[in-house]
Amino acid sequence: MWTYEKRLQYPVKITQTNPKIAQIIISQYGGPDGELGASMRYLSQRYTTPYKEVAGLLTDVGTEELAHLEMICAIVYQLTKDLSPEEIQRSGFDKYYVDHTLGVYPQAAGGTAWTATYIQSKGDPITDLHEDLAAEQKARTTYDNILRMVKDPEVCDPIRFLREREIVHYQRFGECLRIIQDNLDSENFYAFNPSFDK
């Protein structure tokens, strides 16, 4: 069960359109290390974890990621609002425009549509948490790559906020891994799958 809150987690107010930058930033919506994948990954993994701390964190971080993809979509929407056909052609946005007009669609910067093959739900909490820790780092690297390309402070500001969140989530997932290992044989953490083997 979810409810909607009619505000962005962090404000997005962009006054200058920039379709070139929008095409890069959209990767954090539907790209390989984007927010949609992050949310689906955590919300899928939580069902079979036997640890209440981990189920709680996957639920709450998976929910926060939904707020992040809404911020990314708001950025893309505002960067491409009311573009003229000339601006679309000049900026190279025409390849996106032909399939989606100015609609917001989950795809990578290179044009590949979002796919569930970006994520895994392995049914082993240690395996899954290693994926989650890596995912937070990959998203952080992507935000760093975006920040090197973007100069508009109105765009950089919410992107920096999202980058910070990757670091906080990494810390919390690290604590989850520690909690799981505290419940296992310290000399043989990987002897069995805590979700499956009894």
Binding site: L8, E53, L57
Partner: protein
């Protein structure tokens, strides 16, 4: 209304206190026995709930649970701008 609170200030305050609530929520997921974090959560959560009610009274609801505080003769949920729009939250 002269004593009507400023919309932008109210919204910033809601964003900030909601962020504090979320940060503490995630921290408590992995530190469920931290009495300090529990007290901070309690404090922030109360301020947030009050602020959401206040905001709904003047500028329309941000959550469905505060839609009744909006006291309007029409459904303001769809009337006020959406968060990604100009003038939205």
């Amino acid at each position: 209304m002269n004593n009507q609170p400023n919309r932008k200030e109210m919204l910033n305050m809601i964003n900030e206190i909601s962020f504090a609530v979320l940060e503490t929520q995630l921290y408590l997921d992995t530190h469920p026995c931290s009495t300090e974090a529990l007290a901070y959560f309690e404090e922030c959560s109360q301020i947030r709930n009050q602020a959401l009610k206040e905001y709904a009274k003047y500028y329309g609801p941000l959550t469905i649970d505060t839609a009744t505080s909006a006291c309007n003769d029409r459904w303001s949920w769809i009337n006020d701008p959406w968060p990604w729009q100009e003038g939205g939250c």
